[in-house]
Point group: C2
């Protein structure tokens, strides 16, 4: 719906960067600041492996990823893009400086410029 | 949300095929049957170029594509996949049997097994 939220469509790269930063932030206080600034409080996250509703639940998912893969970091693959109130981005998850074993693509829906919903997909994962 | 709509997660390829068939169907009556079977009446469609709410509006978008590119057909690229109530698929649009000049990727949300929302993205398009 062009025109209703023009500002959001203009910054898919900023939104994507804030989104990845949130997943990578291990300090709960700093992550809380990222949630406050860039997410709605009732944001929903759904991918094939994990679901969470509310930034508290989503923070717990990030903690679970960090606990399972302590040395892994999320990184953007390519350029994020978007239209209207949607942003899409591709990411990798792996050890810093090495080939990332896990890749995915997420679609973010914004509400008043904040991340209110994420639909995530896995593009590549170890079969073992 | 695993378990709530397991049937939908099982058939992303069928949903994707019905979705592409709907875009390709030039006969209004046959397209109406596809809408009745596979879409909710109030389905929403949004991509960077077109938006429509309701199957009537979405049918008009399909007519507009056909009018602009009479010899083009939509084709699936790769395998559709999905989880929960979401399906994602990649498509191409071009003349039958030739390299397609336009490619995109869409995320479909289902409601009771029917297409209720589409978020579309363009992956490749002529710059001219």
């Amino acid at each position: 719906m062009p025109g209703t939220q023009p500002k959001e469509a203009m910054n898919p790269k900023l939104i994507a960067a804030a989104y990845i930063d949130t997943w990578n932030e291990g300090d709960a206080r700093k992550r809380g600041l990222l949630f406050d600034e860039h997410w709605t409080n009732d944001a929903r996250y759904e991918d094939p492996l994990m679901q969470g509703e509310g930034v508290g639940a989503i923070g717990a998912l990030a903690d679970a990823v960090r606990e399972r893969f302590p040395d892994f970091r999320f990184q953007l693959r390519g350029d994020a893009n978007g239209h209207g109130r949607y942003v899409r981005l591709a990411w990798s998850l792996g050890p810093a400086g090495q080939v990332a074993p896990i890749e995915g693509s997420d679609v973010i829906e914004l509400h008043n410029g904040r991340i209110s919903r994420v639909i995530g997909f896995i593009d590549r994962a170890p079969t073992a």
